[in-house]
């Protein structure tokens, strides 16, 4: 049993390392080649963990080879459009200017149910609102609504932008732990933080969550021992 235990730990660490080397892309939406790699690695890992008759090297070599091939292949695809098309395919437009391309849908074996379901996932319930719909290489549907169905933007309403409007609120204190890099990113100093904490009569250790942005707007939640919310 110890053998299985140690083999599992080794394979687990190896796969974590491989996924880290492959990068975040691998963890999100899977491209066809990445999907194949994920299945292969999981199968090799399972077999080598279960079957102790197989040398561990027989699992390590294919896993590392697959990971390396994937990284190298994606590097090639990044450099060459042709390679990108061969490896991942092309996005396919199935609704163009509001017209459904039935031939393309048949080609992709994309049924009406698939289309309607993907539209609903995109928040569209009336197909007449769709201007363009594109099946991406990872199988997801991207929808560009017609003008009248698009969400209203600040630009459409000609609303004036406030200073630093594009900076999102970032976590500055998480469960009592201060994250000084957030203050740096927001261009705020320790003095500002000390002042805010003083105003709220709290120390960093007693803060459950605090976010702030570069316009000095903040949101503060104290730990549950003092459930009072302050802002």
């Amino acid at each position: 049993m110890y053998i299985v235990l140690f083999r599992t730990i080794i394979i687990y660490i190896l796969i974590i390392i491989c996924l880290r080397i492959m990068g975040k892309r691998q963890l999100g939406e899977l491209q066809p080649s990445e999907f194949v790699i994920a299945i292969l690695i999981s199968n090799i890992a399972t077999i080598s963990i279960e079957d102790t008759d197989i040398p561990l090297l027989s699992a390590i070599v294919p896993i590392v080879t697959l990971m390396s091939s994937e990284v190298l292949l994606s590097a090639v695809a990044m450099k060459s459009n042709k390679a990108q098309v061969v490896i991942s395919g092309n996005p396919v437009v199935i609704i163009r200017n509001g017209t459904i391309d039935q031939a393309r849908m048949r080609e992709l074996r994309f049924s009406i149910e698939d289309l309607m379901s993907q539209l609903r996932i995109n928040g569209i319930f009336d197909i007449r609102e769709v201007g363009w719909a594109i099946v991406e290489t990872n199988g997801k549907l991207t929808v560009y609504p017609k003008y009248y169905a698009r969400p209203v933007t600040a630009e459409m309403l000609a609303l004036p932008a406030k200073a630093n409007e594009n900076t999102p609120p970032l976590v500055v204190i998480s469960d009592g732990v201060l994250m000084p890099e957030t203050l740096e990113i927001c261009g705020l100093g320790q003095a500002w933080l000390d002042r805010v904490l003083k105003e709220n009569q709290v120390t960093p250790e007693k803060v459950f969550l605090m976010t702030c942005d570069s316009s000095e707007t903040y949101y503060l939640v104290k730990k549950e021992t003092d459930p009072k919310w302050e802002e």
Partner: protein, 126 residues
């Protein structure tokens, strides 16, 4: 770019490791085959005591080499050789020359087969 370089380096390491595995297997196979050949000659000369001693040395050597080979070869393949090698000393002691030489030949074929199946040849790949 660091990721790509690391992947390329790791791929090179894997190629190197595969080469090392094959080289180790070939070395061990050659040494074991020559020891088995010597054992066959001794068996045919009819000196049971010397043959039994040589068989005992071969068995000990195999156990030692098995520890290295089990890192690169499927254990079931090695187990077959172990079963055959384990019989050699007793067969030599009891002077069963026919059975002994047959077992030695079996070991040789098994070792050759293990090595052959690890060669990066088209017939092994497909």
């Amino acid at each position: 770019m660091g990721r790509v370089a690391l992947a390329a380096a790791l791929l090179a390491v894997m190629v190197g490791m595969s080469g090392w595995g094959l080289h180790t297997l070939e070395n061990n196979k050659d040494i074991l085959l020559s020891e088995m050949e010597e054992l066959s000659v001794l068996a045919e000369e009819g000196d049971n005591k010397k043959t039994a001693e040589a068989a005992a040395i071969l068995t000990a050597d195999w156990i030692e080499r098995h520890r290295t080979l089990c890192r690169i070869v499927r254990h079931t393949q090695l187990d077959q050789v172990t079963l055959a090698v384990a019989r050699l000393e007793k067969l030599a002691e009891h002077g069963d020359i026919g059975e002994l030489t047959a077992e030695i030949d079996r070991c040789k074929i098994l070792l050759d087969d293990i090595y052959d199946s690890e060669l990066p040849l088209f017939r092994n790949i497909v």
